[in-house]
Subunit: 229 residues, 2 copies
Amino acid sequence: MPFTNNEFRTAFSVDNVIFGFDDADLNILLIKRAEEPFANHWALPGALVHQDEDLRDAPIRVLKELTGLDNVFLEQVKTFGKVNRHPSGRVITIAYYSLINIHQVSPQAMSFAEKVSWIKIKDVNELAFDHNEILEFTLSKLRRDVKRRPIGFELLPDTFTLSQLQSLYEAVLDKELDKRNFRKKILSMKLLLDVKEYQQGVAHRPAKLFSFDPDRYLTLKAEGFNFEI
Amino acid sequence: MPFTNNEFRTAFSVDNVIFGFDDADLNILLIKRAEEPFANHWALPGALVHQDEDLRDAPIRVLKELTGLDNVFLEQVKTFGKVNRHPSGRVITIAYYSLINIHQVSPQAMSFAEKVSWIKIKDVNELAFDHNEILEFTLSKLRRDVKRRPIGFELLPDTFTLSQLQSLYEAVLDKELDKRNFRKKILSMKLLLDVKEYQQGVAHRPAKLFSFDPDRYLTLKAEGFNFEI
DNA sequence: AAATGAAAGTGAAAAAAGAACACTAAGTCC
DNA sequence: GGACTTAGTGTTCTTTTTTCACTTTCATTT
């Protein structure tokens, strides 16, 4: 190994920004820390990266522990590396975000956490470490990404109505959209499969259900199709 | 410190993708490695991150050593962390890219390098480590960024002609642009200052010279102006 | 000094995309 | 049966993007 001992005084971690959508608001999964530093503060879930683990496997491990989910949409955001970002020593952290269907999950408290909870984005207050900065940067990346690629579906159940999809986009972008224009645009992408079923148990006209067509997405992507909303 | 010894077996490096434009092609600054592993191979310049150094200061240090330049456009790209990406041990690397004016610089060979050279993007072959993957990802990010924000100016001299600016965009995007549409678009952003001078020593009608107006840029950015090309 | 070559500079018309906008339909609930 | 709630649907206007060709101004050549 060509490295002197001195270069190993830095630890590295990942932090997960896990987004969920509850039919009205965008939420993130936060933990309440059980240990110092920042005991009793809300924080992003995270973990140290294992020595023999590919970087991307670390946030996957955190997600699995926390939610039981495997195969989740996961995207690297940015690495945060100020010398003093962690009070107990040098820790460089790589932020990831995920999109999950909030109803698929009943999160479990994990090692470092006293408590795990979904918090509406707009209700997030002071977080531990530099996690507010990480969250803010991640949100802006999510907003950019969601306009560029059809990733919003990851936050919804397998079948959903166009109104649900629209409120999801409105929650993520924090902006109202025109119903007719939204439908025109989304349907013109041909990414939705009509599942020939209707919403049930609602006190109004039931909406048609759609599902996302991942094959169609791959085909269009290969053709360089533009998915901008 | 809450970390056990075991967690420090990973080293941290940064790798710099330094872009320069030579009036026709997009180039990057590569080093020819003097040492194993990958002795005699071309590679991205990089360095281990110092213990007491903010992450972002590491690529700034590399740039300074290599080019003598300070105040350079620098953007974080992505972190690469496969377990076996470095044959001598676990090294996680954070990629950055910079845009510099190629004529401002006569690069100096640095510690690890036998040789430093500008290479046209299209002439880049096999690089050391996973540097081809890093370069490819960085190029795609540059192409996205250049459409989103007026960063192309960083690659040009202080004053430049509209044709130079256009060939720069064409080189970066690897795509021909319509002269009239390009001018219309770029001038409508009001980011160019007419320096009231003309090109000299060319065997054709001399072009007007412009410079970039950074104040104007900051004002427009604060207003949420859209700079898409 | 006239002709040639080479890039600079300029606008209008057509097509495409985006934004604004209001009523009818199909259910449940009371 | 009436009230209530959300679903669903097209057209017009505005803005943006695309397409396309000729004249100007300099240096160089003869």
